[in-house]
């Protein structure tokens, strides 16, 4: 996901690998690569300059801790400085509160509002939504449709032009609910009347939280926009949306630095479940190409209840079609494969493109085909001869080609996972996580 960015960074780090004495030239080179990497992920240029200066000074000045090599030392400093940059993750409490959504046009406020409603609903809260977007046609239809899907009450009136009036009525009608999310119209800092409107909305709702929604692709403008929003309504959290694309979300980092707040959530998909709690450690690790195991584990925990077998199947020794079957089931709940793989600590390892191409519909097909296999075949796919393939295909209502494709896919997965396990023998999730957290 963040490959290009982290490749050059890692090359630079590699140069520091074996060294036990800090090499000024190598550190300089690393800092330069770091700058380029961060700038190309849209982090504010000034911020990058400050950051890289701090890293350079600290790397050269600080004593090398005993038992670490230069690479680890510098990596730790880079990591710490980046974590400092994203500030702390803000606390999301499960108590009665009002949340005011703010952001630029098209940043994904409405979708995120629905996702948030779903998130809090799943945590067992009584949630309501107010649609204060009186400008964009279809805005009320959009949010009310999304809310209806998850049975969350949504207050709004597409014919009313006064956002304040709607909000006032909405607050009244939803006063029995514990958590109210106010979705607002998109606006930018130069539209003074709209900025005035959101100031008034903030006063009216006495919002507990005012969250700024930022598109992961937003560039250098992020700082400036965030600053203006912050001046207007005192932003206390940032949500990054569209992290499922190729954008790196550096703009959100600038926004966070500007508002001295934290990143609360990350939106990474089009369905209503695609919202993750932000985890600064994980985000930075991902930025550095180190994988984000914490988020994966959290997601896995939520998606896979105990009876759905362990996540470790993926990492464990023998990988059979049967494992793939349970995985496809589990993965379906966890979200697209690419997202999951993006979170694994595979660093620079190049995965064959085909691995990602399995869409959810295909996964369903695969499971149907596997349903037609005998237990023996599931345990040892090598058994599947061409006549058996015919039988399986007929049983599943598929063509032999599809069966062949499935087996090809299986082999690819098998190879991939073998590579993932590496030479270390028992390379399981726990160990990976331990390794990862030891790095901080």
């Amino acid at each position: 996901m963040l490959d290009n960015l982290s490749t050059s960074l890692k090359d630079a780090l590699k140069k520091l690998a074996g060294k036990t004495v800090i090499d000024r030239a190598a550190v300089d080179e690393l800092v330069k690569d770091l700058q380029r990497a961060l700038i190309s992920s849209d982090v504010n240029v000034k911020l990058v300059m400050e950051l890289s200066k701090a890293i350079r000074t600290r790397s050269l000045d600080e004593q090398l801790p005993k038992g670490t090599n230069v690479r680890e030392h510098v990596l730790r400093i880079v990591y710490q400085e980046l974590v400092r940059l994203v500030w702390a993750s803000t606390d999301v409490k499960l108590e009665p509160q009002t949340i005011l959504m703010a952001g630029l046009q098209g940043s994904g406020k409405t979708t995120t509002t629905a996702k948030l409603a779903r998130y809090f609903q799943k945590k067992g809260m009584k949630v309501g939504v107010i649609c204060a977007d009186t400008f964009r046609p279809g805005a009320y239809d959009q949010i009310s449709t999304l809310c209806a899907k998850i049975s969350v009450p949504c207050f709004g009136n597409p014919r009313e032009k006064d956002a304040l009036k709607i909000t006032r009525e909405g607050l009244e009608s939803q006063k029995d609910l514990e958590l109210i999310i106010v979705d607002t119209q998109g606006r930018h800092a130069l539209e003074e009347d709209l900025i005035q409107e959101i100031i008034e909305l903030n006063v009216l709702t006495k919002a507990t939280h005012r969250w700024l929604v930022i598109d992961a692709a937003l560039g250098q403008q992020a700082s400036e926009q965030a600053r203006r929003f912050h001046e207007a309504i005192d932003i206390d959290g940032v949500i990054i949306t569209k992290m499922d694309g190729t954008a790196k979300g550096g703009g959100a980092l600038s926004a966070v630095a500007e508002t001295k707040s934290g990143i609360v959530f990350i939106g990474s998909g089009e369905t209503i479940e695609d919202l993750e709690r932000f985890n600064p450690d994980g985000f930075i690790s991902r930025l550095l190409g180190m994988g984000d195991l914490k988020a994966l584990a959290e997601r896995a925990e939520e998606a896979i209840k105990a009876e759905d077998v362990d996540v470790n199947a993926m990492m464990k020794g023998k990988f059979t079609l049967r494992d793939m079957y349970t995985q496809l089931e589990a993965l379906n709940k966890m979200g697209p494969l690419k997202q999951i793989i993006g979170m694994l600590p595979m660093g620079n390892m190049q995965l064959p493109d085909g691995v990602y191409d399995v869409t959810s519909t295909k996964m369903v097909r695969y499971r149907i085909i596997m349903d037609s296999m005998t237990p023996g075949e599931l345990d040892d796919p090598a058994l599947i001869s061409s006549s058996r393939m015919q039988r399986v295909a007929r049983g599943a209502g598929a063509t032999p080609d599809e069966v062949r494709e499935l087996i090809k896919y299986f082999k690819m997965m098998q190879r991939t996972l073998k590579g993932l396990r590496g030479g270390g023998g028992k390379f399981n999730m726990q160990r990976l996580m331990k390794r990862f957290s030891g790095m901080q």
């Binding site: 849209d42 046009q105 560039g219």
Partner: protein, 349 residues
């Protein structure tokens, strides 16, 4: 529009001017000595010297014979790195700004400059050439429609939330004002409320809209829109589509299917002017998979810099057609690269 970039480029330009002025200052004394000695040498011998690495002797020779100065890389490197920062701060993607800097450098280094020629003009010239080179030519939609067979089918693509639907409405209003008949195909059948959104727009600007219900096959909707245009002799079909990320192969395949079925004459790639480095990644990917003929940049009113225009144009080499500059139907303006560059750098040359 793009005021920020303008300011910064002006500053960089002054800076570049200063460092060339320094070169002049350094080399002026010998010039004064020789000026009287050889007053009227022919100008015909210009640019005969190698521009790669002018030696001191070369410099003096050029100075004396041609009454010109040679700009060396060292003289301008500081100013160029400053210019690079400026571009980066204006959201020009890293790769693109690298390319521009290289371009400006090759344009300036080794150039012979007449003593009388203004330093400013030289720098501005190089910058202008670089930017114009990157931006390419604009695109005249009305002209395009005029010379093509009716109905002209225009497909809008792009990632989520860039403003495709709003742009479709604006272009619809724009064309209607020019006297063309327009039909809109509500091809975003995925996002909740999208059909209602485009429906309201169409009603307000008085354009016929072809729509199916939510979840329908967008190809079918757009096919119907084209059929409607054919049977009603309508000039232009504007096909809205759902936003999609270039990383989702199934959605990109769907777009490919749409293209196959409605056979658009023009594929418009819509992105926002505030996008950062990702702009080049996704533009390249859209261009690669479904193609893109022209580009529309939206939300230019919240952006005072305009780097995305340069990044995208540089990456896929397609002309920019319109800039979206606000929330009203009239807030759209044809993109004129010469005008933009003139705006950025002043029109003194």
């Amino acid at each position: 529009m793009f005021g920020g970039l303008k300011e910064k480029l002006q500053a960089a330009r002054n800076r570049l001017g200063i460092s060339i002025q320094e070169v002049v200052a350094k080399q002026e004394p010998p010039a004064l000595e020789t000026r009287t000695a050889e007053p009227g040498m022919p100008q015909a011998q210009q640019k005969t010297l190698s521009s790669a690495a002018p030696t001191f002797a070369d410099k003096v020779k050029v100075l004396i014979i041609d009454r010109e100065l040679i700009v060396s890389e060292k003289d301008i490197s500081d100013a160029l790195s400053e210019l690079e920062m400026t571009l980066l701060e204006s959201d020009v993607a890293l790769l693109v700004s690298d390319a521009i800097i290289t371009h400006v450098r090759t344009n300036l280094v080794g150039k012979h400059r007449k003593i009388g020629e203004s330093v400013d003009a030289l720098v501005v010239g190089a910058l202008k050439r670089a930017l114009l080179d990157v931006l390419g030519k604009g695109f005249n939609l009305t002209e395009y429609i005029r010379i093509h067979n009716r109905p002209v089918k225009i497909l809008f693509t792009g990632v989520n939330g860039t403003g495709k639907t709003t742009t479709v409405a604006k272009i619809g209003a724009y064309l209607k004002k020019q006297g063309y008949t327009v039909v809109i195909g509500a091809g975003d059948t995925y996002r909740a409320g999208a059909i209602e959104q485009i429906g309201v727009h169409a009603e307000r600007i008085g354009i016929k809209i072809i729509q199916h219900q939510e979840g329908a096959d967008p190809s079918a909707v757009l096919f119907d829109a084209v059929q409607y245009a054919v049977s009603h002799k309508i000039d232009v079909v504007l096909a809205d589509t759902a936003g999609r990320f270039h990383t989702k192969s199934n959605l990109m395949n769907q777009l490919e299917k749409i293209r196959r079925i409605m056979k658009p004459d023009l594929i418009v790639y819509v992105d926002e002017a505030v996008a950062g480095n990702d702009a080049i990644v996704r533009a390249a990917e859209f261009d690669r998979t479904v193609g893109a003929d022209v580009v529309v940049l939206t939300k230019a009113d919240m952006d005072s810099r305009g780097g995305a225009a340069i990044s995208i144009a540089h990456t896929i080499g397609k002309p920019l057609m319109f800039l979206g500059t606000g929330q009203g139907y009239d807030d759209i303006m044809p993109f004129d690269p010469v005008q933009v560059v003139e705006d950025l750098l002043g029109s003194d040359t």
